[in-house]
Amino acid sequence: MTFAGWLTIFLFAAILTALAMPLGSYMAKVYTGRRVFLSPIFSGPERFLYVILRVDPKREQDWKSYAKSLLIFSLAGWLLLYVILRTQNAFFVPHGLNPLGYHSAPWNVTFNTTSSFLTNTNWQYYGGETTMSYLSQMIGLTVQNWLSGGVGIVVAVALIRGIIGRSGKSLGNFWQDLVRTVLYVLTPISVIGALVLVSQGVIQNFTTYLTAHTVTGLTQSIAMGPVASQEVIKMLNTNGGGFFNVNSAHPFENPTAFTNLFEMLLVLIIPAALVFTYGRMTGNRRQGYAIYSAMMLMFLGAAIVAYIAEAHGSPAQHAAGLHTHVISGSTGGNMEGKEQRFGIAGSALFDVVTTVTSCGAVNSAIESFTGIGGAVPMANLSASEVIFGGVGTGLYSMLLYVLLAVFIGGLMVGRTPEWLGKKLEAREIKLAGLGILITPLAALFCTAMATASHAGRASISELGKGPQGFSETFYAYLSQANNNGSAFAGYTGFIQPNAGNVGSHGVTFADLLGGFDMLFARYAPILFALAVAGALAGKRVTPAGLGTMRTDNPTFVVLLIGVIILVGALTFFPALLLGPVVQGLTGHLY
């Protein structure tokens, strides 16, 4: 452990908070229809889009209508993406957009990939540079990177509107919220972000792959492509699907220690800002601060544990006589699977950042983390994406937990529970309870199917029997259920002997189970969150008094963290025991 390492972690938290607060206020203005400084630039395109989409932004939608628009939009996006991916070398695709003439991946892998990008998961059974054409990457995957994140954000906004709604059933207008998200929030940050990345050496071109002759006399193919534009949104919308197979460990995706920090900020900026947006929209900024504190405390806890574990190295590494202490020129610790330019802190923190959110990008090999270090991302995933979480997803999932915490804690002050003045009754509890149940249900059910069946075990690599195989499987379905997308490697759904998908075939069981895991764990909670919003929207508000439980003070933060750990994370305790914990206790080097 080094001073620079600790500084990285705490400085990051400080910068994030400082940037997220103003962005949160800005977004609150955007979603309450007030003028912002970018209005002169975007109000024209905004009106133009409404005309093209043929929507009347003034038409208010109740939760059912809002959900219907969302589902129709998603279904259309799914079909479009599936067709693009399956026709990437069709006759009508210009050669320049598929210079290497890659075939399409098989139907089952494409089903998984389509579901994955649509649900903001970006679980990848494929390697980008050996599977996807430039067209697929840009028009297919990148577009969904934008839209899937946008869908998550508008659900969070709709839920906030339900919570604060004073009368009636309206949650706003889905199309208006989506258009505004893309124009006023995602576009400006992406443009600036892409330019920053390019300035640091991230590539953005359409050239064919370069051939390099190495000193040993071999030739090496160096993949090219429009990386920067996809990289920025991959991080900003917590998608995580890399242009290249090694994701953010690749120097063309993440070239320097600075881009590493910058990319981590991109990942957390919207999930963090949305919490402040919530505070602003409720009219009491402290509501946002309380939730932010709970998230930040859990986040820092995870980062500290991961950093200590990785910097310390595993017991087996010590036993094997590997020197893991800090010596000149080396930060020591467990450097297996990590990039020198990021170091231990830069890798551990990146790992925590991308697993608390639904990002899932990686800049190091998680399966090479120490037992405890590797348990951290799994524990993060077990918290069901409420520590900042995915864009929008994080906030709406967290708000469902807030609802449960208010219900349990509210009773203990001697009143029937009320949240921001609204009484919580059977209907809301039922919907929130079901909403929270989905992620554990999907993750555990799919892992059980996969570990119990012969077809499921086919995806586990030969080396990975025992706890490693269990971890791989569990992580795969937990990650897909959380729409995260990061992987513990080893778990395959795609056999690809040659680049360009020649002779490749998918593992149907893993592809389909994973695909359904992602779709179910994405859309069921969205529907429950919107239904909760609908149930709360019309409720009468009781003014707060001394006898009302506050949801904006430290006591509530403690209660909320307690509920998340006891009700959420603990459900994965048995599975964690059989995976990383067993591994951490046995003689594995990493």
């Binding site: 219900f407 003014p543 006898g547 599975a575």
Partner: protein, 694 residues
């Protein structure tokens, strides 16, 4: 708080461990094993199904078969688990049965009062009391039981209501006015009254009261339903966790028996609160009954915890209700003692509280007591026309009365009231007091200052209510000035002056419009609309039948301050639910650490039968895997009876503000809920392990 409480007639507390209650509760605990009863409680229903499966497994093992679901556990283990699972259900039933038992004991006492009487109709015919319907008119003479609930339409009588209220002193019931309601089953002790029946057969107050305390009409309250849903959701989550553990275990080379999986499931689902939830609800009603308040629905008890605004009648609640003499203000040239003496003499025959208070105050001026008979005095009583009273002694007219009435009298006698008089009268009026002018023949001697006396301890009480987050509004017929003065002195938050039934109703509506819940008390017929509109309307038992039907609670003591206690009971009820839910969920941590290391002790062991890496998680150092699981299940079961007293008594409510209260309860039931089972399971394991010898 209770120390300052005006005397509340407490029903004789029924001990939890009274012999017949215990006996009946024990029998009921087994009767309630009927699945048709259990299905209403999802958590306990799951436990019962689990008990059935483990029992079947044990039977299979007892007859030499293999345990269901693999594993090589001995039959005694399966037997122990299934016994304790059954006991878990029985304990849950026992909690409910105890709560019902206490209510039933009270109902039995009431039932004994219900005697078959024959009603004498006004037309001379007779009719069985049970057949009386609304609109029947009956005559009741001294010594007779009133055959049904009704309103006195003729006459005045004293009635012994001890059967219902427990208060032995007879009360007066008369036609017209606010004391016209009579209750079936009470006894007339003097005079004859004519009563119009206001109930349908079988719907009498006594019968409804019996049904209520017995819990026969108990329906789940909205909050109880919501909590039940939460518990069902948690149960569902843990069912998924446990169901998927079988394949996970098999993948890791560990087969887990059905019995152990069921034990883990029962340990994880919130059985503690699931078992005690309905007992907590019944006990809440019971606690009100013991304070002599009848809640006509559980919903009303729950709502009383939520009250934001309390409407309190000034008279009888905030003030003693009688204006008492506090000062003599003599006119210039009149000695104070002379005024005091004349005032005393004029009040000698005046038996009203005001009159008596003047005599008492005069004593402080050293005026000796006079005797009417020896003075040959002639008493002049108060009438609405003269608005004064007094005596005639030795040809002197001593009078006391309303200021303008006395002025008129003095002028009529040829005197002229001193100019200072009007100023004194105005000052007292403005201060919220009542001035009584005192005169002797044509001379005004001075003024007696009658003060509306505020009950002791009211300020502290209102401070407490404020800390509870409850706003108090004083309702009075006084003018604004007087009302403001009393409001300020008593420390009440707000007041409604010159109140009429309409204005009271409007005030309640206005508060409800802003999302507040309102509670009030009332007794008169004109209070009925407001009582019906209020979220918690407490009707006084002395009130009219209309008021009693409009409210959702009836206070048998007719004590308006009772509202404050009712609010406390409501809050206690909700806190107890929340606290035990928290405790139940927090318990899971220790249970995981007890059961999972036991289940996975052999997983990835270096040698078959040896200990695997996960055994280090046995941080409690429990004896053997089997004793660990059995201990966790025993803890899970016996914590239920241990918490029965708490759930019947309720977690104490302290008016310290919501934040402090939450902190306190989180610490006790949250943190305590995490720690307690670690200690409990370890202790039980020490016993189990040593008894079984592993």
């Amino acid at each position: 708080m209770s120390a300052q409480m005006p005397a509340t007639h407490e029903r004789q507390a029924i001990s939890l461990f009274q012999r017949d209650i215990v006996k009946r509760a024990l029998i009921d605990s087994f009767k309630k094993l009927d699945p048709r009863v259990q299905i209403h409680n999802p958590v306990m229903f799951v436990v019962e199904i689990g008990s059935l499966i483990t029992t079947v497994t044990w039977l299979i093992q007892a007859f030499g078969g293999k345990p269901l679901g693999g594993g090589n556990e001995p039959a005694w283990y399966t037997f122990l688990i299934s016994v304790w699972l059954w006991l878990t259900v029985v304990f849950a039933n026992m909690a409910e049965a105890f709560a019902e038992g206490r209510g039933r004991a009270q109902a039995d006492t009431l039932r004994a009062m219900r005697k078959e009487t024959v009603a004498r109709m006004r037309d001379g015919s007779t009719k069985a009391a049970a057949e009386l319907t609304r609109g029947d008119v009956v005559v009741v003479t001294p010594g007779e039981l009133i055959p049904g609930d009704g309103t006195v339409i003729e006459g005045i009588a004293t009635v012994d209501e001890s059967a219902i209220t427990g208060e032995s002193a007879p009360v007066i019931r008369e036609s017209g006015g606010d004391r016209s309601a009579v209750t079936g089953g009470t006894r007339v002790t003097s005079d004859e009254i004519v009563v119009e029946i206001t109930q349908e057969p079988g719907q009498s107050f006594l019968e409804r009261m019996i049904a209520l305390v017995e819990g026969a009409e108990r329906r789940k309250t909205p909050n109880e339903i919501a909590l039940n849903i939460l518990l069902a959701a948690l149960t569902l989550i843990f069912m998924i966790v446990v169901a998927t553990l079988r394949p996970f275990g098999l993948f890791s080379g560990t087969s887990i028996s059905e019995t152990t999986l069921i034990a883990l499931l029962v340990a994880l689902i919130p059985t503690t609160i699931g078992a005690l939830l309905s007992a907590i609800g019944i006990a809440g009603m019971d606690r009100l009954v013991r304070r002599n308040v009848l809640a006509l629905s559980g919903r009303a008890v729950e709502a009383s915890g939520d009250i934001d605004v309390l409407l309190l009648d000034k008279t009888g609640t905030i003030t003693i209700g009688n204006r008492l003499a506090s000062e003599f203000v003599p006119m210039p040239g009149v000695p104070e003692s002379e005024l005091a003496e004349v005032a005393q003499l004029s009040s000698l025959a005046d038996e009203t509280p005001e009159g008596r208070s003047i005599v008492v105050l005069a004593k402080q001026y050293g005026i000796r007591e006079h005797d009417m008979a020896t003075l040959h005095a002639e008493f002049v009583p108060f009438t609405a026309q003269t608005r004064m009273s007094g005596v005639n002694i030795d040809g002197q007219q001593l009078r006391k009365g309303a200021g303008d009435a006395i002025i008129e009298l003095v002028r009529g006698e040829g005197g002229s009231p001193p100019p200072e008089l009007q100023a004194v009268l105005d000052r007292i009026g403005n201060e919220g007091g009542t001035p009584l002018a005192v005169s002797r023949d044509s001379q005004v001697l001075g003024v007696v200052y009658l003060k509306d006396t505020i009950k002791e301890g009211m300020k502290a009480r209102f401070d407490q209510l404020r800390a509870m987050g409850i706003k108090t509004v004083m309702v009075t017929g006084d003018n604004r000035l007087t009302a403001a003065k009393i409001a300020e002195e008593s420390g009440v938050d707000d007041f409604l002056a010159e109140a009429t039934p309409e204005r009271k109703l409007a005030l309640i509506r206005e508060q409800q419009q802003d999302g507040r819940l309102v509670a009030m008390t009332g007794d008169g017929t004109n209070d009925a609309p407001a009582l019906a509109q209020a979220d918690v309307g407490v009707a006084m038992n002395t009130g009219t039948q209309a008021a009693r039907e409009a409210g959702n609670m009836v206070d048998l003591d007719s004590n308006p301050t009772k509202l404050i206690e009712i609010v406390e009971v409501g809050k206690q009820l909700l806190i107890t639910r929340g606290a035990l839910t928290t405790f139940s969920i927090a318990n899971d941590v220790a249970k995981y650490f007890a059961i999972l290391p036991a289940v996975f002790i052999g997983t990835y062991a270096a040698s078959p039968g040896g200990k695997g890496p996960l055994h280090v998680l046995n941080i409690m150092g429990l004896g053997t895997p089997r004793s660990a699981i059995v201990s966790a299940i025993i803890f899970n079961a016996i914590v239920i009876p241990l918490l029965i007293p708490l759930s019947l008594r309720g977690v104490r409510y302290r008016p310290i503000g919501a934040s402090a209260l939450l902190r306190r309860n989180l610490l006790i039931y949250g943190l305590g809920g995490i720690i307690a089972p670690f200690i409990g399971i370890k202790l039980i394991d020490l016993i189990v392990h040593n008894l079984l010898g592993g």
